[in-house]
């Protein structure tokens, strides 16, 4: 019965699988970049993605004023206006996700490398003051004011503790990442206007069938996602392989100490790596809202785990591997859930990873950001 089902809907599953895989791939790029450079599983990357989906929502509704419903209908836009709205959302997501990634790096990771700076100290101090404020105040507003006042002295204190120049053990980075991830998720859940509920994003794009392929309708949003992911990955590959900064990224991935001796500004390169990962996640987030029209405070978690699986599947540290891993994972999940039932979707993903790693211990394409040529 189910075999028949997969035969009947094979191309359908393929199209949605490739679209889902493209999203995985874009988020996986962020994991793979940071891992290649820092050897760190950036657990909070999924939250950068989540921030991106909210940035899209805010750009569309608060900045551009697109309503959720227009006279009981979806607020469909067409032509130039549609393109403008989509681009604005994309920009908003990319900028906010990139900024979030920078703040994360400066506050939660850089102090652990022993080179914490003022920016990180201020972010950490503000969060500390804010948490202390929770004891005394009930309203977010007075909390915020208390946080801002407390930031100064606490930041000064933190800066004094920071300058140790000592590298923390690798596990500490992971726990810091987990802590940051928890804090960001919860902050959105607590202080978001709809608490822990799901948010709807305005559906500006009418999901029309663009053309038919093998008897399957190809929807326009899938086409946008697939082409967008390909474009962004190509741009990233060109940046890493062809530019001076990209060479710096590869150098640090290969050997931090040697890169430092040869004059690479390691902290700056790491920052750039996080920005790149954040921008990719932001792009993925905008396209995610385009397809699924929703967001939630914990939306990043499962997608993040899957994307990291995709990165490992393709060979962590390998940019092309992330793309391939994402696509393979997306397809495998779709075919698998058609064969075995949707409730086994996540099991299929992990079993696939286990099988691939047993036969190719470094992933499908091997680890290669650390090697000279990508």
């Amino acid at each position: 019965m189910r075999d028949w089902l997969i035969y009947k809907t094979f191309w359908d599953l393929t199209v949605t699988g490739v679209a889902l895989g493209s999203l995985y791939a874009l988020v996986a790029l962020g994991y793979t970049l940071v891992y290649g450079v820092l050897r760190l599983i950036n657990f909070a990357h999924s939250e950068i993605f989540m921030i991106g989906t909210f940035a899209s929502l805010i750009t569309a509704t608060n900045v551009l004023g697109v309503p959720m419903l227009e006279a009981g209908q979806y607020p469909y836009r067409t032509g130039f206006q549609l393109v403008l709205i989509l681009l604005a959302c994309l920009l908003g997501s990319m900028v906010l996700s990139g900024a979030g990634a920078v703040a994360l790096e400066r506050a939660a990771y850089r102090p652990l490398r022993g080179s914490g700076d003022q920016f990180g100290a201020v972010v950490l101090a503000f969060v500390t003051a804010f948490v202390v404020g929770l004891v005394f105040f009930d309203t977010p507003k007075s909390n915020l004011i208390f946080g801002i006042i407390g930031t100064g002295p606490i930041a000064w204190m933190y800066l004094n503790i920071f300058r140790r120049g000592r590298q923390a053990p690798r596990l500490a980075f992971l726990i810091s990442a987990i802590g940051a991830s928890t804090a960001i998720t919860e902050a959105v859940a607590i202080w978001g206007p709809r608490d822990r509920e799901q948010y709807q994003t305005p559906r500006v794009l009418e999901k029309k069938t663009l053309f038919q392929l093998f008897g399957t309708d190809i929807r326009i949003d899938y086409v946008i996602v697939i082409i967008g992911a390909l474009l962004m990955t190509t741009a990233l590959l060109l940046f890493v392989n062809r530019t001076r900064l990209g060479r710096g990224v590869r150098a640090v991935a290969q050997d931090v100490e040697t890169a430092k001796i040869l004059g690479v500004n390691v902290d700056f390169v790491i920052l750039i790596t996080f920005v790149l990962g954040g921008v990719m996640a932001g792009g993925a987030a905008m396209m995610f809202t385009l397809v699924y029209d929703q967001s939630k405070f914990n939306i990043g978690f499962l997608l993040g785990v899957k994307s990291f699986t995709a990165a490992v599947l393709g060979g962590i540290g390998n940019l092309k591997g992330a793309l391939l891993g994402g696509l393979v994972l997306g397809l495998a999940e779709n075919y698998g859930s058609a064969l075995f039932g949707g409730e086994w979707k996540d099991v299929i993903a992990f079993v696939l990873l286990l099988v691939v790693l047993m036969f190719r211990p470094t992933g499908l394409l091997g680890e290669s950001l650390s090697k000279a040529r990508v």
């Binding site: 500390t128 053990p169 211990p361």
Partner: protein, 367 residues
């Protein structure tokens, strides 16, 4: 000492806890033993602490009964942290799916005592430990040959696979879970009922003591030294003749067994489990407990486990904001005390001291 220097010493210098340890080590054997005995007795009386004047205000858990916080949370977390510490802290293997073994232990007890058989808890418990140990070996055999970071994601997947399987297979009670799980047998006046959590605490605390005793023996044995060597440098350990794969598998299996033990205790206490009791986030909390306390240090794991379990209950006043506060606290502790609250003692110095020639004569003996 300037202010900034003193600030720095808080984060990098030794804490009073380790000074206490040093001071104790200098005392005679009888002093140390009696100190230990008093500590253990005080901890056995933990359920009554909230009624002690000052101490009570510190430890109390507003909104939840203190003994049940101890049994449902603190004991479980401490046990799990001890087990995970073997895997993460001693052998240096990053396990993100530890909740899987915990679930295997709990489900084994549930199946054998309620779902498909009627065995007493006392018989189920060792079976549960054994089954989780086997699960550890089954998961470890293919994956421990992988590099460390790959292990993280594979184990994470394992934890999810266990949960989803339990959720979807009817034989395992699917999403409705399993109820009427057997409780531990009553010993004299200690009756294991729903109403009184204290007997469970005594049982749990005794289990912790036994596990600590066994782990200490293990840590100071050949196995423990091999783990040390593997953690510090796997290639070097392999070169020196340590069978790294075997010892990694041992660490995995022992860690899994302790996880299963914690799971069986949990199942015996709550008497009802369902897949939602074993979310992926729990694995992450377990790991946080180990690293927060100080990976590789058993006392660190105990403190970390107790803190992670107890803190959210203590600060119920924050209500729904406590998870947020917990996340921020994790980042801050890692930034300012990256080795954890009670760091692992660095044995190198002691070892070097004993190696140093003690007198001048030792140096120039033969000339």
């Amino acid at each position: 000492m300037s202010l900034s220097e003193s600030l720095r010493s808080v984060t990098s210098g030794s804490y009073s806890v380790s000074r206490l340890g040093e001071a104790l080590a200098k005392q005679s054997r009888s002093v140390r033993w009696s100190f230990g005995a008093i500590c253990i007795l005080a901890l056995y009386l933990l359920p009554w602490w909230p009624s002690v004047p000052v101490l009570g205000w510190i430890v109390e858990t507003p909104g939840t009964s203190f003994p049940s916080v101890l049994t449902d949370q603190v004991v479980i977390f401490v046990l799990v942290a001890l087990g995970l510490n073997v895997v993460v802290g001693l052998a240096g293997l990053l396990d993100l799916g530890y909740v899987g073994f915990y679930a295997v232990g709990a489900y084994t007890v549930a199946i054998l005592s309620s779902q498909h058989a009627n065995l007493p808890w006392l018989l189920c418990m060792p079976i549960a430990v054994l089954v989780s140990m086997i699960a550890g070996v089954i998961l470890g055999t293919p994956t421990l040959r992988l590099r460390g970071d790959y292990l993280a994601i594979v184990t994470l997947g394992f934890g999810e696979i266990i949960r989803i399987t339990a959720n979807n297979v009817e034989w395992l009670g699917d999403s409705r879970g399993i109820s009427n799980i057997a409780t531990p047998p009553s010993i004299g006046p200690l009756k294991f009922t729903v109403l009184d959590a204290k007997p469970y605490y005594f049982l749990g605390f005794t289990t912790i003591l036994i596990v600590i005793f066994l782990l200490r023996r293990l840590e100071n044995s050949r196995v423990g030294r091999s783990w040390n060597a593997i953690r510090e440098d796997e290639d070097a350990a392999e070169l020196m003749g340590v069978d790294t794969f075997k010892f990694k598998l041992w660490a995995f299996a022992i860690g899994a067994a302790i996880g299963g033990l914690a799971g069986s205790l949990y199942a015996g206490k709550v008497q009802f489990i369902n897949p939602n009791n074993f979310p992926l986030q729990l694995s992450i909390l377990f790991l946080a407990a180990v690293v927060l306390g100080g990976a590789g240090n058993m006392w660190g794991a105990v403190v970390g486990g107790a803190l992670v379990a107890w803190m959210p209950e203590r600060f119920r006043g924050f209500a729904d904001k406590r998870v947020f506060v917990f996340g921020v606290a994790l980042v801050l502790v890692m930034v300012f005390r990256p080795q954890g609250l009670i760091p692992r003692k660095i044995r190198k110095e002691r070892w070097l001291e004993s190696w140093k020639p003690s007198t001048e004569a030792d140096l120039g003996g033969k000339e």
